[in-house]
Structure formats: C-alpha cells, structure tokens
C-alpha cells in the first residue's frame, strides 16, 4: 500500500509538486500518468526518500521508505537506467545490493534468470543495451521479493517482446497481491494494464480513480488525458 498525502516540493523558486495526494493499493496496477516534466519522477523520488519534499508525507505500508529496515524487502524500485556502475558486471552489481540488505547470493541468480540476463551476467553494465539496462534495473528491484513495486517509465527502451513481457509480469505481480505503481507518458500502454489511474499535470493531480472513472465520458484514456492536461494544447 502506497499513500501519498499533500506532497509539495520546490526546486529553486519553482513549485514542481503541489499538494500531490493519491494511493496505490495492493492487488492493483496503478498507472501514474502525465506529460514529460509534470512531476511523475519527482513524486516517485520523494516516495523513495531520494528527494525531500517541502511538506506532506509519502508512506509505504504506513511508514516512510527510509524508516524500514532492509527496505528492499518492502519495496522494489526501477528508476532511470540500470543503477549500476558501468565498470561493474551485472552479477557483481546485484551481489553488493543483495549484501546490503542481507539477502542470499542464490537470490541474485534467481532474479538474473527471472529477467533473462543469466547469459550476460558477466558483462559490464556499461556495455549493456538500453533494454538490458532496464532488465538489470528490474532485477535489482526484485532482489528482496518486495510486496510493493515502484517503476518509472518501465517500458522505455524495451523492444515489443520486452514490453509484452513487462506487461504480463506486472499484471501477474498485482494478481499475486502486490502493489504496483508505474509512471508513464504512454497512454495506450497504461490503458492496457492499469486498474487505477492517477493523472498529474504541472505538479498537480488532475484526476484519479479507476481506469473507467478517469476515462469517464471520453472515448479513450488518451482523450481523457488530453482533455485534462496542458498536453491538449501543444502550442
């Protein structure tokens, strides 16, 4: 369960998040939708304790992410890139992450297998393609087998097979009872897998609810999105 309550954040003098509030519930895929620069990544970074909000709270199962011991067993995060130093092999990267949370080495091989990177585990992360980097990032998120997954634009850089795999994986994760929160600016992609939708625009949540509620009277989620956000007037 993810609860974000009245989160505001400034960068310099600009207000990038304005009292953002929403929830992501277990057993459901929550799509966090917004144009580029709307505040999706900032919100997720606040949720993970990477960035500091000016006010408001962001909790995972009732506590801030940073308050959890062995946080990788509580939530897994996929942000930009692989998250691995380019000189490290995929396996070496996963091993230090596992060590930091007291996870067994066998788990490293399990997640490598899960994302299909076993054959490339000895390659340096700097030599990885964009798709491989995303898979390594996902493997890192899954190390602690967490009940909550937070993913920032997870299908970016994936080929069609990878996108389908990710979609199935996230659906299965939610069906097993996990809380899945993913951000995207791709409406079509989100409409395919999201149960709930939160739309953010220029730092404010402009709509939230089930996919049907948010789509409302509009023919598609895309139409609803364009009607609700500034992206409807590109110039």
């Amino acid at each position: 369960m993810i609860s974000i309550d009245q989160v505001s954040k400034h960068k310099g003098r600009a207000r990038i998040l304005h009292e953002v509030s929403f929830e992501a519930r277990p057993g459901r895929v929550t799509g966090f939708l917004g144009p580029n620069g709307a505040g999706k990544t900032s919100t997720l970074r606040v949720l993970l304790g990477l960035d500091r909000p000016r006010s408001g709270t962001a909790l995972i199962d009732g506590r801030p992410y940073a308050a959890w011991n062995r946080p990788l067993t509580v939530a897994g995060a996929l942000l930009d890139g692989s998250g691995a130093h380019r000189a490290r092999t995929a396996r070496a990267h996963l091993r230090w992450v596992a060590a930091s949370n007291g996870l067994p080495r066998t788990r490293v091989e399990e997640v490598l297998d899960l994302v299909g990177l076993t054959a490339d585990a000895g390659k340096r992360a700097g030599k990885f393609s964009l798709g491989m980097s995303r898979r390594l990032g996902l493997a890192t998120a899954l190390l602690g087998d967490p009940p909550v997954l937070v993913l920032d634009e997870p299908v970016n850089g994936l080929d069609p097979a990878g996108i389908r795999w990710m979609r199935t994986f996230l659906r299965d994760s939610a069906d097993q009872g996990r809380t899945v929160l993913l951000s995207s600016h791709l409406m079509g992609e989100l409409a395919e897998i999201a149960d709930d939708v939160v739309i953010i625009d220029r730092g404010r949540v402009v709509a939230r609810g089930t996919l049907d509620e948010v789509t409302g009277g509009h023919p598609t989620l895309e139409d609803a999105f364009l009607a609700l956000t500034a992206a409807g007037q590109p110039w």
Partner: protein
C-alpha cells in the same frame, strides 16, 4: 554490518580503486629504491636533520593511493551509468538499498578506513624493511608508535579525500586538487612562507604526526598534530554529512 560489507564489496569491485590500491602499495617502496643513492649522500654530508625520518619520509608519495581510494568511494556513486540515461547514477541504487543517510556514510567511511589502513600498514612495513635492506643501520628504524601514527595519518588522508569529494560531488576536481597539492606544488607549504598558521593545514600538520624534521616556522608535537588532524577530518566529515542530508540525491 551488512551495509559495511556491501560497501567493501563495492569499493573493491572498482577498477579505479585497484589503481589507488596498487599505486599506494608500490609507490613508496619504489621511491626508497630510486632515492637510495641520494639518501646515502645526504646522510654522508650530514644534511638530514633527523635520520630516523628517512624510512617514513618516502611513505608520503603512497598517500596518493589513499586519496584515490577516498575519492573513488564517492565519485563512483555520481558517475553516469551510461549514455542512454545521463542523469542515472549508482547513488540511486545505493540510497534505495540503504536509505538512512548517516548509516550509509558511516558504512562507507568504515569500509574505506579498513581498506586504507590495511594498505597503509602493508606499505609502511614494506617501506621500512626495504630501507633497512638498502641502508642498514645508517637509518635507524623509527619507534613502532611513529609507524602507527603514519598509518593513522594515511587513513585520515583517505577520509579527508572522502569528505571533500562528498562536498564537491565531483571526483575529477577533487583528485586533481589533491594530487597537485601533494605531488606537484604544495600550496599549503607555500602558504607557510606567508603565515605560520598554514602549518596547521591538514596535509602539513598531519605529517608532524610521524615526521620530526619538517621545515616549518612553528613547532608542532605529534600529539598536537594528531588532534588538529582529527579535528580537520571530523569537521569536514560533519559538513559533508550535513550537505548529504540536505541535498536531493
């Protein structure tokens, strides 16, 4: 403990850390061999102010290795992970794995200190043994406490580099400054010609912990030197910790 183990694994898994490790281990013994002739002449001419310094003096160059290790511990967190995502850095993974920042910084400092202290000890032993081999009893072995002080100095320089890089968040600038100051032109030493207070800058005051015949305008005892050096390291670490807490990752 798990965080320290992870940080050790991270540090020792970096090729650049091994450059620092090997440079630190090999530079000082190599200098003993290269300087052997000059050292013999200096002793014969009686221009060495304290002969017992000679074995430890060559250790100075190896401190570069400790600096590199201190810098790399932090700079590796801030380098971009790839061309595809210029904003992505290992630090994101590090902070999601160990989100309590004080705990993270302490674990990093502990891992670094351990590696650097082992490196310093091995280097000191190798350097002193080699000095004994080359010069026999002409260079008396320093008391063990001075060797311990030298290793302590070595470790504190590593922590100093670590703190400065945390503040600057850029390894290249920090490393360039530290290397130029310690190996090419010592700005601190030049400053001592302007004001005697400059003798209390970390790189000069630290050397007083284990060397006796340093040419500076003030007399600093080894204990005073150790206290001042510790204050520098603690102060810079406190500033670094404060900034690390306040800044967005």
């Amino acid at each position: 403990m798990s965080a320290v183990r992870a940080e050790l694994r991270k540090l020792l898994g970096l090729p650049t850390a091994w450059v620092g490790l090997l440079l630190g281990l090999l530079a000082a013994p190599a200098l003993v061999i290269l300087n052997a002739g000059a050292t013999r002449r200096a002793i014969a001419d009686g221009i060495v102010s304290d002969v017992s310094d000679l074995g430890l003096q060559n250790l100075g160059i190896g401190v570069l290795g400790a600096m590199i290790l201190g810098v790399v511990t932090v700079s590796s967190e801030y380098t971009a992970t790839g061309e595809d995502s210029p904003g992505a850095r290992q630090l994101t993974t590090t902070l999601t794995a160990v989100p309590r920042r004080t705990r993270l910084l302490a674990a990093k400092a502990a891992a670094l200190s351990l590696v650097v202290a082992v490196q310093g000890t091995l280097t000191a032993i190798a350097t002193l043994a080699l000095t004994r081999q080359m010069h026999g009893t002409a260079v008396p072995s320093p008391e063990p406490v001075r060797v311990v002080a030298a290793v302590l100095y070595w470790t504190m320089i590593g922590l100093l580099a670590y703190a400065i890089t945390l503040i600057a968040r850029n390894g290249i600038i920090t490393l360039t400054l530290l290397i130029v100051n310690s190996a090419v032109v010592s700005f601190s030493y030049l400053l001592t010609k302007v004001t005697p207070l400059a003798a209390y800058l970390p790189d000069i005051v630290g050397a007083h912990m284990f060397l006796r015949g340093i040419d500076v305008p003030v007399r600093i005892t080894p204990v005073t030197a150790g206290v001042v050096m510790t204050a520098w390291v603690a102060g810079l670490l406190a500033v670094a910790g404060y900034l690390f807490h306040r800044r967005d990752a």
